[in-house]
Amino acid sequence: MASGIKDKVAILGMGCSRFGERWDMDANGLMVEAFLEAIEDAGIDVTQIDAAWLGVGLDTTSIGPSAVPLSVALRLPNIPCTKVENYCASGTESFRGAVYAVASGAADIALAMGVEKLKDTGYGGLPARPRGAFPDATLANSTAPGQFAQIASAYSAKHGIQRDDLKRAIAHVSVKSHANGAKNPKAHLRKPITEEQAVNAPMIAEPLGLFDCCGVSDGAACAIVTTPEIARRLGKTDLVTVKALQVAASNGWEAEGSGWDGSYFHTTRVASARAYKEAGITDPRKEISLTEVHDCFSITELVTMEDLGLSDEGRAVHDVMDGKFDADGTIPCQIDGGLKCFGHPIGASGIRMIYENYLQLLGRAGERQRATPPVTALSHNLGGFPNLNICAVAIVGMH
């Protein structure tokens, strides 16, 4: 049995660009914006970084192949640079590369960057791809909202929840995130909305309306990690360390096998169970004080509360309506606005979540700071579709 990652790696510094429709910048500029904040926070010089990882989800619309654009944008001193890609979970994958490099002893200080430049496509939503490969020859002609919308139909049928009741609960999810995003100066969407607005918005993919869908944004986020010992040597006193870092990839069972009912995320259950074990968490509802989850769509967030064990199965609708995950609830979710309002530059999102958790743990989150700074925070980063995906769960906490 592996000893796990718990407390072997500390976050030395983090940075995050402003998310949104960044007509002013391409991917290189966004990476620089996140990097300059991170390196200032870390208090080191660029020459002290031993290795770097770059997470990008859709390279054709962003920066092209390889990690060379990272090295060029940051003018890194010819250190090893690696590009990773795991759909929308690419950010956490990049973070995992840097954390493992430090934990292995191969690097003293490593950098993780996630970036996506989506707003050069000319239209809303995620870019459409050329469709030649075999999976596309059978896959339904679909979009991300449509793929995730299906969860709602299966969830309603399984738990006997009326479509309109579920619609109201997912509206609450989005209203909450808009309220949180309004307090976040780096967020893409900063206007509060009402439940009525959410419920009555134009339909995107039944039952998901416009406000059930996250922002499609440009942005970058960056983390610099090291060992707790080196962090202290560099003068850091309050240390945020990695408690768990787990990834679970679908193997085709949900899509092709039998048994999955379409109402939940199998990989989230697997990854979170492993993460709790790695972090030594036995009762997540008591021990996790804050979450940033992959709310690409409101229904994803609602169901994820159950898959993470923070709600009983079939009860998330009630917990959501009771305000359990609101900013002033018992376990706030998306206190920064989440993918919904902070925005979702694919490759950056996983690191952006950790960035928010890091700020909240250190009490540095400004107007949106949780009054009692949390002790342990979880981020959940999901790439792909409900029936075929990769889920990354990262838990960070005070050392």
């Binding site: 496509t121 000319g122 239209y123 939503g125 459409a128 791809r129 050329p130 469709r131 030649g132 490969a133 075999f134 020859a137 059978t138 896959l139 339904a140 002609n141 679909s142 979009t143 909202p145 449509g146 793929q147 919308a149 299906q150 969860i151 709602a152 139909s153 299966a154 309603s156 049928a157 134009p202 339909m203 995107i204 993919a205 039944e206 998901l208 193997n251 085709g252 069972w253 899509a255 092709e256 096998g257 039998s258 048994g259 009912d261 379409g262 109402s263 029936n387």
Partner: protein
């Protein structure tokens, strides 16, 4: 004795209300009002002569019986490919063995009957021959043809008897009577004056051919119980019957008010429709006009009442949805280009090498069954998808196309580009195992529900207009035979 062993048909679900077209166009051509009665069948954007042929063939021949078919003949004047055997695509979709002959027949409105005659003449030496006629003709906007034409297909399986109807004989006249023509690479027919077509064409060519045929068969015209002839000109079937000495009551419903004229498929559709109602001993005469005339005569046998139930022409005609949005019809028929936005620009190229490699999965919807665990999956894979038993190299072919399924999850997607939004799709589970997330078609988004029974249909999945390539796959439709 050569006989019809089985027959089937297909009619697309949407029916253009002719009145909707006439009211949109009468300012431009007041004469169209004469064609404003009833409705015509219109294929979906994802249907063509190939997909409709597949459905008619499925309606005609059960999965098991397809293994014994020796030859497949596809007749149409609206085949998607000038050079890529269209019948070969139908063969793959029907999951027929490679050891089968295939032939495309085209070039005239007689292609359906000429194909059927070729099939009947090919039955020597045993084995069955399947003839499918299918048509989706384009018509100029505001032309009479736009209102008169219909889309549909029929399939007839023939072989050495006994069968449902025995062939008494066939006879053909060939005359270059260019009542209309469509030049190669021209999309539309060019039609000469209808009065000339009626008086010099139908009225003279068809009765002469029928007379010669009946003399050859030694059958009197008054003995004909059912007379089948397409009637794109109103009443032409009745006047031809009269000229040929056939009883007025023998003239069968030409379906002009419900389906329209489905080109060279129409004689076979009408034959199938007549046989659905026929009694043992009846004589059924088929006449098809088109640069000459084909005549076929069948005697219905005692087994007609014992044939397996299928949808048939009557069943498909009852499965209908009225289309009174003329603009939508124009768009789905390819006559009007609506701005699909940039999402519609995505490259739709299908690599033929990939398609060939996966043709069993893509065209015949063959999945895999693990012989060790019994797990059924789509597509097949070297390592079984079964969670707890990763058996290697144990897959056997498991056809899914004829399996019924139920919806496990679904959506109606207004964001995705499809010519006919919203794009409906979802996860379906097949009875007996296997699942896939698949496009739905012929659905009304507001009626979808978890647990809804579905069936599979062969359709166009994407249209690579830049290269003229159609990528076919299977889609789920609401179960149209819930009782079966």
């Amino acid at each position: 004795m050569t006989s019809i062993i089985a027959f089937g048909a297909y009619v697309p679900r949407r029916r253009l209300q002719r009145e909707a077209a006439v009211s949109a166009l009468s300012w431009f051509n007041a004469g169209l009002g004469a064609h404003g009665r009833g409705e015509r069948a219109i294929a979906g954007w994802d249907e063509d002569a190939i997909t409709m042929a597949v459905e008619a063939a499925r309606d005609c021949v059960a999965e098991d019986a397809r293994q014994t078919v020796r030859k497949l003949i596809l007749a149409s004047t609206s085949l998607p490919y000038a050079d890529r055997q269209n019948a070969g695509i139908v063969k793959e979709a029907l999951n027929m063995p490679d050891a089968v002959g295939a032939l495309d027949v085209t070039g005239s409105q007689r292609a359906g009957t000429s194909g059927l005659i070729a099939a009947l003449e090919s039955t020597g030496g045993g084995g069955a021959v399947l003839c499918v006629a299918s048509e989706r003709r384009r018509a100029k906007v505001a032309s009479e043809a736009e209102l008169v034409y219909g889309d549909g297909a029929a399939a007839v399986l023939v072989g050495p008897g006994p069968g449902l109807a025995d062939l008494i004989g066939h006879h053909s006249h060939t005359v270059d009577f260019a009542d209309h023509f469509r030049a190669t690479e021209r999309p539309f027919d060019y039609e000469w004056e209808g009065r000339w077509v009626r008086d010099e064409g139908y009225a003279k060519i068809v009765p002469a051919a029928i007379g010669a045929a009946l003399e050859k068969f030694g059958v009197g015209a008054d003995a004909i119980d059912r007379f089948v002839m397409p009637a794109p000109i109103r009443g032409i079937d009745k006047s031809v019957a009269k000229a040929a000495g056939i009883k007025a009551e023998a003239v069968q419903d030409n379906l002009q008010d419900r389906l329209g004229t489905a080109g060279c498929a129409q004689p076979l559709i009408l034959l199938a429709h007549a046989l659905e109602k026929a009694a043992p001993g009846e004589l059924v005469l088929v006449a098809a006009f088109g640069q000459g005339c084909d005549v076929l005569l069948f005697r219905v046998t005692d087994t007609i009442g014992t044939r397996p139930t299928n949808m048939g022409v009557a069943g498909w005609l009852d499965r209908r949805k009225a289309e009174d949005n003329y603009v939508r019809h124009l768009h789905l028929a390819g006559a009007l280009t609506l701005d699909g936005g940039m999402r519609a620009e995505a490259d739709q190229r299908t690599p033929p090498s990939m398609l060939y490699r996966h043709r069993r999965s893509l065209l015949a919807l063959v999945g895999g069954r693990c012989t060790k665990t019994g797990t059924i999956q789509f597509p097949p894979s070297e390592i079984s998808v079964a969670q707890n038993e990763r058996a290697i190299g144990t897959q056997e072919e498991y056809p899914l196309a004829e399996r019924r399924a139920r919806i496990a999850s679904f959506t109606a997607d207004s964001l995705v580009y499809t010519p006919d939004p919203p794009g409906c799709y979802g996860l379906i589970e097949f009875e007996g195992g296997g699942r896939m997330t698949v496009d739905f078609t012929d659905v009304d988004a507001e009626t979808l529900e978890v647990g809804q029974p579905m069936r599979m249909m062969f359709r166009i999945k994407r249209n690579d207009v830049d290269r003229g390539f159609k990528h076919y796959f299977w889609k789920a439709v609401p179960d149209y035979r819930a009782e079966a």
